[in-house]
């Protein structure tokens, strides 16, 4: 199935008709999710600020998920030399970077009323910040290499090295955290969560995922078209 779809032409044929529906699904989920966000009760401690969580937590989840997807696509691109996998990894990166930035910004906005500071150097926020740097490095590397195939390979290696390193970095940051702060900071999303807060969170998470899939498909398609154009244009110069 995956190999069958790995042909860019087939991929375009299969997904181009489905794409608008995924976009529509994302829009509908956002409408529903945002309604639930504002309809849900205030938190007895945090008041209205708890609603930032409905953006922050799904964004943070997406930040990690997209990086994982990039890693998997990179792996397939590197091992099986699927051109589509390269395009998929490249297309996911800026979307992931934006989700990560969103997680950092909403985290910071949430931190102000919660802890009284715009930025709290806790393990979680610091790790997400490093993840954001990974995205930036990935995008910068892709932009710096002229040869597209080489760019795909090099960024795939970077993505995989990053994927292997992320748990280590997370561990080291947590270790650093225990070293520098005796008491643990208030956790952003405690394990105990009221059901009427769980629903908006879940719907928003689904909305984020649908949005990602839609944007991703659009970008992969754009990547395939650009590539075809460039190749044929270069060939025409030899006519």
């Amino acid at each position: 199935m995956i190999t069958w779809l790995a042909n860019p032409e087939r991929f375009t044929r299969v997904f181009a008709p489905i794409r608008p529906y995924i976009g529509g699904l994302a829009a509908a989920l956002f409408v529903w999710g945002l309604y639930l966000c504002f309809a849900s009760p205030e938190d007895y401690q945090q008041g209205d600020t708890v609603r930032i969580m409905y953006l922050h937590v799904p964004a943070a989840w997406m930040a990690m998920m997209v990086y994982l997807i990039m890693g998997i696509a990179s792996f397939f691109g590197l091992i099986f030399r699927h051109a589509l996998a390269d395009a998929a990894a490249k297309a996911a990166a800026p979307i992931g970077a934006v989700f990560t930035a969103l997680a950092l910004i909403t985290g910071s906005l949430w931190g102000k009323p919660m802890w009284g500071t715009w930025w709290e150097w806790d393990g979680r926020m610091t790790s997400v910040l490093v993840l954001f740097l990974f995205y930036i490095g990935y995008i910068a590397l892709h932009a710096s290499i002229d040869d597209e195939v080489r760019a795909a390979k090099s960024t795939a290696i970077l993505a995989l090295v990053g994927l292997v390193n992320l748990p280590i970095i997370k561990f080291s940051v947590d270790w650093w955290n225990t070293l520098h702060q005796g008491t643990s900071v208030v956790r952003m999303d405690g394990p105990t969560i009221a059901p009427d807060m769980l629903w908006p969170l879940l719907v928003m998470a689904l909305a984020f995922k649908a949005l990602f899939v839609w944007l991703w498909l659009v970008r992969i398609d754009a990547e395939i078209i650009t590539r075809r154009y460039r190749t044929l244009r270069a060939r025409l110069s030899f006519q």
Binding site: L78, V130, L133, F134, I136, G137, A140, L141, S144, I145, V149, R150, K153, S154, I157, L158, L160, V161, G162, V164, N165, I168, I169, F171, S172, V173, W175, W176, L179
Partner: protein, 229 residues
Amino acid sequence: MSTKINAGPHAALSLLKRDLSLSLTRGGGPLLAVGFYLTLMAMIPLSLGSDSGTLSRVAPGLTWLCLALASLLSLERLFERDYEDGLFDILRLGPLPMEVIALLKCLAQWLGTGLMLAVLTPFVMIILGAPVDAAFISLIAAILGSLSFAIIGGIGASLSLGTRKGGVLIALLVLPFYVPPVIFGAGLMQAYLTGAPVVQALSLLTAYALFALALGPIAMGAALKSALN
């Protein structure tokens, strides 16, 4: 047959010798990184004030930061020159696989500059106010740390080969990966200075160096092959 068996180590030794002599002489050799390291050290009291209490508190952490930054400096030259000169075309027709070539080049560069920086580290720390008895442990830690920096840095250098963005791009790619050794190294010094046990930090630092030694050649080999086809 006997010549064939010897071909690998023989070639490896000659490559290591060549690269070591180049890393010691080319472009000022280790002088650049050492000068940069000492300049950063001098900037610290100038930006934080010369209060010895403040300085000795931040000395271990800032020394490790400076060590990481100074380690970045020589990375741009690591593969770039030989890449531009076409030397890899000879290296690939010899008995060594690309992974080994990359590792040898990293080690030569580390012996030429990283090790010098590591040797300087206890002095830098002491000048910034760390006690003299921390010298030995800081030297050990700096050796392990600079080795990790060199090899992880080599991955960045191999990935950005031929991009003409050189140093800045390498720094951007590599610095996030320097986070664990910086944390473990600075943590180690802090533990030592507060009298806490250092075994955990030291073993984490060692583990990361071994991890870099295992992962680095694979990643560099793949990146170099893709850059050189």
